[in-house]
């Protein structure tokens, strides 16, 4: 089954990469850029037919490896 995990930095946590990209956009003339936030998407393929089990397993992967629960929120979406 295909699974999409979106990992977003929590709103209250600073995003230095986004700040740097915003500065670079302003220097390139894109001065109407108000804010930039960089997030991550992970596309996984899991060898299983049970969407409930797959969701639980991928949530466990997020907790153990894929996301940093102190800084980031994650959402697991089983596609098919």
């Amino acid at each position: 089954m295909k699974v999409t995990v979106t990992i977003d930095r929590r709103p209250e946590i600073a995003d230095p990469e986004g700040t740097t990209v915003k500065k670079a956009l302003h220097e390139l003339g894109f001065t109407d850029t108000v804010s930039v936030r960089m997030d991550r998407v992970i596309h996984l393929e899991i060898d299983s037919d049970d969407p409930v089990e797959v969701k639980a397993r991928v949530e466990e992967m997020c907790k153990q490896l894929l996301a940093n629960p102190v800084l980031e929120d994650f959402e697991v979406h089983v596609d098919a």
Copy 2:
């Protein structure tokens, strides 16, 4: 206006980060992981009321800075 840019590595381009994460997941016991691909999402806020103009400007940002057109495909979605 809020804009979401999704930047995906082209399917024919190797994804070393994804390969490393897959290996780590297998080592943690998630041996049913068939494939892992890491992509990027950028959330922008642009000071403009014209969605057509905003889309064109953000596409230009992607070409100049945000994406690597040799390795990556991007998609710009104006949210509101």
